[in-house]
């Protein structure tokens, strides 16, 4: 039971330990007990399985894109097939993986427990949101099987409304439906955070994970309906030719851009904010310190959500918007860097003089901090108007948002999955193999996307399946990196599945962490707590934890 100096991992004696007999997994049996469940933890697991499925489909398309770009000639597929590849990659990754990734899985599982509640406020709506997600996913797969769609994930008008004969309406309705799944998740989180906190759980005692989900939920609730209406209009324009985006009838294609990006810019904060919440938890646990500047980090989440609504036009700088509004939006875009930097600096100060250990979640968290910083800083380049005209629609921008979304969010997701895996399943993942996976992912990621910054800066446009031969070296590097990255993502699937049966018994609190979720058994009971807890200390209070274990009396038999 002794903790060595290189790890804080503290597992129970494996010869006597066992996963608790009564827990949320064993509470009921049979497929129906899962499909009709109201338990937030079971719904989180359903989400985890389904988003992993879609992640690998989206990833397969990424692989095909990189394979085509291995050579300068368009030799693997025809150009319109290539267009379908990157569209399906974008649609699946954005709407079916990134948006629900952390909130619908980890958030769903943990928010009620972190608040000391028995469930989310509306369990049935929570289940409904999973079914809507599945319906959206099925429609997307239907569009894919029927022949795909090639508008790009942005559905740019009038391309999507007048010039293409692919399954735009099917895909748009898929996103419409999946959007409502995200609205319901956000709504559930906000109500739960407002109304279901346990006694003593004040706003400023909530873990930062909850704060960042609160901010992301505001974005989901306010932004997604606007996406719904803009996609409805695209559908109507295609089906009956209403003319609202058709310049021939006096409509304005730019209006679509405004409506679409009014959601889709905040959407990137929907994707990144929950990831930032994961990083706060992980950094604090593996530095054995309270997060530096808790209040600043909490409010920076809300600030990002707020600013996020006033920067959408930076996607449209080259589309003929007014110079003066472009100036304002450029400034506002740069302002978003401030709360993001507050977070990065505060994590760095949390690490300072902490007792840092390097378990897998922490490795992913370090990956997040480095890659997100690069992604964020290149975002400031793109916010500058002159630079944006040079760099937009090139591979520079592809690299930029992949650094934020993949280097940032996916790293945070994997960090969180590893961190809470023992809580979710009651068993540990294999530590050395997972460290290898974290390092492989980091190397593969940089090899894939670093060359894209350079090739984009040199002028290679995005969304073309052929390019001048002088860009080949960098593209080959990128494709090689994507292969390594693919291995990095396959490994966790394999060993996490293995650990379900053969992993070491984790016990209640393998990381000796402070959160309420670590004070209950793993996997938790269906009702989470036998008695609703009373919160009488701040979040991340490691002194409190020390006192707690000091006074603990362990008796055998």
């Amino acid at each position: 039971m002794s903790a060595s100096s290189t790890t804080i991992l503290n597992l129970p004696d494996q010869t006597t330990a066992a996963v608790p007999k009564r827990n949320y997994i064993s509470a009921e049996h049979g497929l129906l007990s899962w499909l009709l469940t109201g338990d937030h933890k079971r719904i989180a697991m359903l989400y985890l399985i389904s988003i992993t499925f879609f992640f690998f489909i989206g990833g397969a398309f990424a692989g095909l894109i990189r394979l085509e770009l291995l050579t300068p000639q368009p030799d693997l597929v025809a150009s319109d097939t290539y267009n379908k590849f990157f569209t399906m990659h974008g649609v699946i990754m954005v709407f079916l993986f990134l948006v629900p990734s952390v909130p619908a899985t980890l958030g769903n599982f943990l928010i009620p427990i972190m608040l000391g509640a028995r469930d989310l406020a509306f369990p049935k709506i929570n289940l409904l949101s999973w079914y809507l997600y599945l319906a959206g996913g099925t429609l997307t797969l239907a569009a894919l099987v029927l022949g795909g769609v090639d508008t790009g994930w942005t559905f740019t008008t009038p391309l999507s409304t007048h010039y293409l004969n692919t399954h735009v309406v099917t895909t748009a309705s898929a996103i419409f439906v999946a959007g409502f799944s995200s609205i319901f998740t956000g709504l559930n989180f906000i109500v739960t955070i407002h109304r279901m906190r346990c006694p003593g759980m004040t706003w400023f005692r909530m873990p930062l994970f909850v704060w960042s989900h609160y901010a992301a939920s505001i974005l989901m609730v306010l932004g997604t309906p606007v996406l719904a209406i803009s996609l409805t209009l695209v559908g109507l324009e295609r089906l009956i030719g209403i003319g609202v985006f058709d310049p021939n009838k006096g409509g304005d294609p730019l209006l679509f851009q405004h409506l679409f990006w009014f959601y889709s810019h905040p959407a990137v904060y929907i994707m990144i904010l929950p990831g930032m919440g994961v990083i706060s938890e992980v950094v604090s646990t593996f530095s054995r310190k309270r997060v530096f500047g808790y209040t600043a980090v909490a409010f920076s989440s809300v600030a990002i959500a707020l600013f996020g609504f006033f920067v959408w036009e930076h996607h449209m700088f080259i589309m003929g918007v007014s110079n003066y509004s472009a100036l304002v939006f450029s400034l506002l875009t740069m302002l978003v860097a401030v709360p993001s930097a507050i977070k990065i600096f505060n994590w760095a100060f949390t690490l300072q003089k902490g007792s840092i250990t390097f378990e897998t979640p922490m490795l992913y968290a370090f990956g997040f901090m480095g890659l997100f910083t690069i992604g964020g800083l290149t975002g400031v380049f793109l916010a500058a108007l002159g630079m944006d005209i040079q760099l937009t629609e090139t591979y520079f921008i592809v690299a930029h948002f992949h650094f934020v979304m993949v280097g940032g969010m996916l790293m945070a997701f994997l960090s969180g999955v590893h961190f809470w895996w023992p809580k979710m399943t009651g068993r540990m993942y294999p530590e050395s193999l997972s460290k290898l996976a974290a390092v492989v992912t980091f190397i593969g990621f940089n090899l894939t996307f670093m060359p894209q910054f350079i090739v984009g800066y040199l002028g290679m446009p995005r969304r073309y399946h052929a390019y001048p031969p002088e860009y080949q070296v960098l593209n080959v590097l990128s494709t090689a990196g994507a292969t390594v990255l693919g291995v990095g993502y396959m490994l966790p699937i394999l060993y996490l599945a293995w650990s379900l049966k053969y992993g070491a018994i984790a016990g209640n609190n393998p990381w000796q962490a402070t959160g309420l979720e670590w004070q209950i058994q793993s996997p938790p009971l269906t009702e989470n707590f036998t008695e609703i807890p009373v919160m009488d200390h701040e979040a991340y209070d490691y002194e409190w934890l020390e006192h707690k274990t000091q006074n603990e009396v362990t008796t055998v038999g």
Binding site: A117, R118, D119, A121, F122, P123, I125, I183, L187, N188, I190, V191, T192, H194, R195, M196, P199, V221, L222, G223, T224, P225, V226, A228, I229, S230, L233, L236, I240, G241, I242, G243, V244, K249, G250, G251, D252, L255, H258, L259, F262, R290, Q519, E527, T530, E531, I532, P533, V534, D536, H537, E538, D541, Y542, E543, W544, H547, K548
Partner: protein, 258 residues
């Protein structure tokens, strides 16, 4: 890090709550994951308000488009909005407000636990809602006959060659064809906004029928009024949307016929 840390067992069970549970009889609709009925009721209505917020954003996209195009194509929007019937629209406004009034009475009836009254008020709410949709149908039908529904069969002749009155004077200024084309945008927005509103009414009426059946069964006569309250919020929201649509589409800058 000098937070005062309580010396008691941190995750102390809440004894008082346990006591309350023994003494207090929960209503049958109480969901186990809520600590108290109060919490359940508050969570429900808070959730409803948030949902209405998403609805505002949903309609907001259409209102934004209306604002933009009204400024751009003012000349086409004026004669196009003259096509709408103020008496019918006005009657519909009155009908919808009456329906909302009965809904408010219904919430009151549920709170004072009067089953028969509640059922009566809900039925009246439904009847006035259906009357609204009936009049809306008449209005839509007229547009259909005049080929004012956007799409392939849209006809601008009425705006290019306005019909003449008995004295042989045109009832409106004739529009050049390119401006008259823009009336299609007006009619699209008219159909999209009122159609989305009507869709909300239809969903609402479906819910009302379900609520009437439950009220008849006596579900809301024992102090459990949350569904009635929350539906009331929804119904009033739909009313309010109409109160914005009516002046925007029918009334503002409506030039008297010359």
């Amino acid at each position: 890090m000098d937070n005062s840390i309580a010396t008691t067992e941190p995750l102390m069970p809440r004894e008082t709550a346990v006591h309350e549970e023994h003494e207090h009889v929960f209503i049958p609709q109480h969901r186990h994951h809520f600590e108290t009925e109060e919490q359940q009721r508050e969570a429900g209505s808070f959730g409803m308000w948030l949902f209405l917020l998403t609805e505002i954003m949903f309609f907001g996209g259409l209102f934004f488009a209306y604002l933009l195009y009204r400024n751009w194509y003012y000349d086409a929007f004026v004669p196009a909005s003259n096509q709408l019937s103020v008496p019918l629209g006005g009657a519909n406004t009155a009908i919808l407000i009456t329906s909302g009034f009965f809904m408010a009475l219904g919430v009151w009836a549920a709170e004072v636990r009067k089953r028969a009254l509640l059922v009566l008020f809900l039925i009246l709410t439904t009847v006035f809602g259906l009357a609204f949709l009936g009049i809306k149908y008449v209005e839509y039908h007229e547009k259909w006959e005049k080929h004012h529904i956007p799409g392939a069969s849209f006809d601008i002749s009425e705006f290019v060659n306005p019909p003449k009155d008995a004295a042989g004077k045109p009832t409106q200024h004739a529009l050049p064809p390119d401006v008259a084309e823009k009336t299609q945008i007006f009619f699209f927005l008219y159909f999209a906004m009122t159609g989305m509103h009507a869709l909300h009414m239809i969903i609402g009426i479906g819910l009302l029928v379900w609520l009437i059946a439950r009220a008849q069964r006596g579900d809301f006569s024992s102090g459990y009024v949350a569904p009635i309250e929350n539906f009331g919020l929804y119904w009033h929201f739909v009313d309010i949307v109409w109160l914005f649509l009516f002046p925007l589409l029918y009334l503002i800058n409506r030039h008297p016929l010359q």
